[in-house]
Structure formats: C-alpha cells, structure tokens
Amino acid sequence: MFHDPLMPAAPRCAEVTAEVLSNSPVNGEYRLMELAAPPEVLECHPGQFFQLLCPTSGADQPYLRRPMSIYGYDAAAGRLQFLYKIAGAGTRGLATLRPGDGLNVLGPLGVGFSMPPEWRNLMLVARGVGLATLAPLAKLAQAEGRRLTAICSARRADLAMSTDLFRSYGAEVIVVTDADGSSSVESLRALIGGRIAAGQVDAFYTCGSSRLLRLLQELGAAHGIPGEIAMEQQMACGIGMCQACVRSFRVGDQIVQRRVCREGPVFPIAEAMA
C-alpha cells in the first residue's frame, strides 16, 4: 500500500472542471451531487477521494480544497457522485451549485480499499457520510461475488442512508439506531459477535467513528479478523506534498506518521489509532 519513491505509485489524477448535473438534498442533512466528468478522472477505485475547489458564497471564501470520498463513479456514463453533509464554508459553497454550474475537481486521489480473494464475507459498518465512502466498495464487492453485510448506523431509522443502494448491491442491510439503542457499542458487539460466531465475517470495512473503530479493533484482535478503515484528516494539498494530513499509526510497537491523503485514506484497522 505504500509507495516506492522511485516509481510514483500514485494513480494519475487530474484537475478538471466538471459540470453539475444535480445537487439535491437527501434526507435533510445530506446532499447528493452528480457531475458529468471526463474520462481522465474516472479511473477510480472504491475508497479514493477527490479534492473539490468549493465555490465562494457570500462571506464564505473557502481557500483550500475540500476532500470528499467518491460516492459513485461510472466511467462509461461519464458520471461522478459525491454525498456530503454541510459542515462549514466549503460544503456551504458546494450546496449553492446548480445544474449547469462548473466545479473544479482534482482526483482521483489516495489509496482505496483492498479486497484480497480470501475475504469472502465482508462486513461493512458505518454511519453518516461514512456510508458514502463504503458505497462504491459494496458495488465492487457485488461484482466480485463477495457476500456482504452492511450495518448502517443512524440516529433514527428514517435517517439511515443509502440502505436501498446497499441492498441493490446484494447486501444484507441491518439498520441500527440511537433511537432504539441498537447502535450502542454493547448492542453492536453482540450483533457482530453473533455473526462472527456464525462464521459470517472474514473482514471488516469501516470509516467514521472512533467508537466503531475501537470496537472493530477489539473484535478483530479477539477473533483474528482483518479489516480496513477510511480515515479523515484536514488536508491542504491532498496529493502528498504538504504533510498536513498526517495521523499516527501503531505498527508493531512503533508509532509511525502516515499521510492520510497519500498512504491512505484507507488503512488497516489494526494499525489505526482512534
């Protein structure tokens, strides 16, 4: 997963202006943006991201680009999708885009998820925009004929996102909510533990919450189950130049720093530090 400086393993990426096809709210907190994008940015892999040059809007002048996971890509159709939550200046700017507007995107970036052949039964666990990151992974898993279980966590059942999408990729979808307590660490430990006991989990994929990360590290260690996590960190360049996006990882008994944008954003669950 780490690159040899003699041969930049970074997939080629490009800076292009893509055309907004749609950009509408999905269930209040999130927005789905679809872009018409040229082929040079569509050789994507699940888990990769783009850096978006968000438009200024009113007093908001986002200066740096904003990292956003690829929610969907279709090279044949020339389509690229992002699912995002309005958080601050940049995403507020994104939300102002209308069909026909241009958006400067840079990507695809980073190293996505791996899917070794022996990982037959995949368990995806995520919440919120984390589900956006896992969506293209689910699609790939289906294409590769893996068995898929997606645990989608949300505040309330009606806020659980992309469940139909995951089902369409052949996943068994389990919605857990804060409302009925099923999203608590204890409930999840029981739920996932049961699946492990039934031999239904070869690998975990997650992103988002450190609560989930810790739980999966614990279960993974106890049962010898590997997995990957997509991580976040503030970025300036997104392509490896600035070293702004480092996080610490535990590798053996050492703590090492890795760039989320370049060595990641996907890392082994066992090495991630919450």
């Binding site: 930049p8 080629r12 002048q61 200066y63 740096l64 600035c242 070293q243 702004a244």
Partner: protein, 313 residues
Amino acid sequence: MSDLSTKIGRLTLQNPIMPASGTFSEDLAAVFDLDRIGAHVLKTITAETRSGNPTPRVCELPGGMLNAIGIPSKGIDYFREHALPFWARYSAPLVVSISAHSAAEFATLARAVSLPGVAAIEANISCPNIEADGKAFAMSPESTEAVMRALRGATDLPLWAKLTPNTGEPIEVAQAAEAAGADALVVANTVLGMAIDIESRRPRLGNVMGGMSGPAIKPIALRMTYQCARAVAIPVIGCGGIATLDDVLEFLIAGARAVQVGTETFRSPTVMLRLIEALDQWMAARGIGSLDQIIGTIAAEADEAARHWGAAS
C-alpha cells in the same frame, strides 16, 4: 515561443517558474510532466529524522493559510537512497533545501547533499516553525552571515539563501548573505501568524503560531523582493503569494530573476504550467523577446498622470 530562460548565477533555467520548498514532491508527477518547470525545489530536509509538529498543522485563512508542519524529515540517508535516484530521471535542475540547528550542522549537511544530480542547495535559514517564536538564522544579518559562510566553506554548489519576511532588517540580511557568498536569494519564506478558534479558545495550529502563505502575503514578499533586488548584485528569486500571471510579472518587474510558486499549487496543482504558458503568451503578444526586458524594469515612481482620472484624464 519567447525565450523564457533565466540565469540564476551559473545555473540556467528553461523558464522562471519553479515550486517553493514544502509545496512540491514526487507525488506531483501524478499530475503533470515535472520536466516542464524551471527547477525542482524539494521540501527542506534535515540530517536527522524528524517527525514534525503536532496536528492540526494547517489552518485556512481568507486568501491564504497558516502552516506549522515543522519540517518532518526522513533524514539524509533516505534522501540519498530514495529521493535523489527518483529525481535523477528529470533534466530540470534539482535544488535541495536543507535546514539545521547550527552553522556547523548546516555545513555538514550541505557537504552531505553535495552529490551528483544536485544542482543547487537552498539554505532554509528562515523557517518560522522550528524555533521558538519564529526565530531563525535569517532574522539577523550576523547569524545569516555566520551560517552562510559556513555553508560556503562546505560546498561548491550554487548556494541559495532563503530569507524571512519576519526580520526587521531585510536589506542588511540580504547583504550579509551576499557577502558570505550566497549565489542567490529566495525572497521569501512565510510570515509568522496565528489564528484562534473562538468557541474552544484554542490556537488553530498544534504549534500555536505558524507561517502564513498565499495571496494575502504577496504585497509583503513583493516589497521585500524589491528591497533585496536593489540592495544586492546576486539574483533574487521571488516567492510569496504568487498565483497569477500578474503576480509573476510584478515580481519580475520588481527585480526577481525567477519565482517560486507555493501554496497556489495546493489549490491548483497545474498552476505552474499555466503560468509558464501565460507568460509566454504575454511576452509574445507584446513582442518581448527575453525576460531581461522585464526583470527589474520598475519605474522609479508612480505615474501620477497615468493614475489621474477625471479632470486630469
């Protein structure tokens, strides 16, 4: 095609556009052909390995950013074994930026990086992120002269001194670097700044203070470039907030023989290519054959007539 070449001492660059240290790496090869820019200026390295500053390492500003990356470095061995061979594939001159805690250590490191394939050494004597309160060698003429003299004694490679806009004595520092044998000046590094998160009442940077870069600092870097270009005979390389062709031209007119583009590459990784093309077109449209017809051509004073509107127009 106009002639965009420029001479920095005994080095000739095919064009005057190069990256600023710390805003460039081999990763950019994934975006465009790196041999199209004037030179390759690498992220500052130190002799030892360093992990850099705690996160958050950057913070956004209107028109710029603060960084307190803090020179993480894989050390000299990694440089020799991995970085140098990588860059050997390119023909653009390789400029290696180095930093150290004393003149003697600087000299040792300069000796160690004086290797085939290295075209020049840029001495980062101006990083505001590794010393307390932004102190750096280039804050005073005395320490500048001492460290540059030690460096001069250690290498025959062209030596570029990267200065800081945080000094109150930019001219004296520039002249000290020249006197000590610098072949060129890079003007300049980041401006020491700070930002606070109102709600948490905490600094926005792990290192509390950090270096400001981007368009917001351009007038400061341009002023210092102008001051230095008038004060020394060696070439000055402008750096700070360059994002557009107009910015490039301002620095050249102020006296810079080349420019470094930093933060703008984060916003647009291909900006250096665009600048080279735009400069070429601008010169061609005006029948300007070489950069010498631009560099240092600033008029002595503002033209009151040219700026008089209305009754005077």
